[in-house]
Symmetry: C2
Subunit: 145 residues, 2 copies
Amino acid sequence: MRMSTKAQYAVRAMVNLNLYSDGSPVTLRDISLRESISLTYLEQLFVKLRRGDIVKSVRGPGGGYLLARPAKEIQVDEIIDSVEESLVPVSCMDQKRGCVCDDRCVTHNVWHGLAERIRDFLSSITLEELTLEAKGMPGKSKTNS
Amino acid sequence: MRMSTKAQYAVRAMVNLNLYSDGSPVTLRDISLRESISLTYLEQLFVKLRRGDIVKSVRGPGGGYLLARPAKEIQVDEIIDSVEESLVPVSCMDQKRGCVCDDRCVTHNVWHGLAERIRDFLSSITLEELTLEAKGMPGKSKTNS
DNA sequence: ATAATAATTGACAGTTTTAGTCGGGTATGT
DNA sequence: ACATACCCGACTAAAACTGTCAATTATTAT
C-alpha cells in the first residue's frame, strides 16, 4: 500500500509551483532545482498535469507553467489522478462501472470502503491549503488529525 | 496506491478459514482448492500469520490451522500487518518513531493523514464481520459507506 | 529571419518489487 | 514406520517503477 513516488513528486511539484508563482509562468527547470527532481521526469509529469487541467503551459522564452485554475479549486486527488496513479486499492475495481469480479468477492466491500475513505480524504485537501502550510501559515483546516 | 495481492489473498484466506472452521483444524490444501490460491504460496502467508498471532497451527495428520483468537478480536489491519504489507503510503514514515525526512516535508501531513484514515478504517473491521457477510448474513456494521 | 528558450513526445533501460515455485526439512498421529 | 501436514529458505520470472535520452515543435527576443 504505497503511494508511488510519481504521485508524491507531482504533489510536491505542484505545491512548489504555486509557492513560487507570481503571475508569470514558472519553468520546470526552477522546480527541478528547488525540489531536486530530474527535469526530464518533471516534463513527463507536467504533460499529464496539463491534460488533467491542473496546469497550463506557456511556450517559448519566458514561458513555463501556470495553474489552470485557482489553487483553492485544485484538490490533491485530482493531481494524483492526473499522473495516472490509481487511488483504488484493487485492480478489479478500476473500471468506473463497478467491480467486475464474477465470484468470491467476500472482501469486495473492504476494498470498496477503503477506496472511498482514500478518495474522501484526498479530495478534502486543496493545493491552496498545502501551499499555505508550506509558507508556515496553516490554513483554516489542517491535513492531519 | 494498490493493496498487493498478497494482502488480498491473506484476507480472503482468513475469511475462508473461519467460514469452514468447525473447531477442528482446517488444512491449507482445502483453502487452496476453495480459493484457488497456490498451496505453497498459502504456506508462506500462514507462516507469517502464525507469527502475527492470527492463527495457530496443528501439525501432523488431521492437523491444519485454527484461529489464534476469536474472530471478533481479529481486525483486518492485523492480517495485513502480519503478511508484512505496509499500510503507510510513503517509505519515509515506515519507522515507528515518525518521519525522518530532514527537509522539504511540505506534503508530509497529507501522507500522514492518509495513513491514519487507512489504519482507522481497516482496524474497524473484524474477521467476524467479514465472515458473517460472506455467509449472506451481514453483521451489525457494514464495511462500506 | 534567426537564434534561443522551453515545452512536447516517444523510445528505451536499469532497478526494485511482486508473486510465485522448488526442494527439502520437521513434528505428529496412527 | 509411515503418511500427513506444517515449516523454511533459496531461487526465478514477470511486472512495475523510476527514471534517461534523443529528437521535435512552438514561441519570443533580437
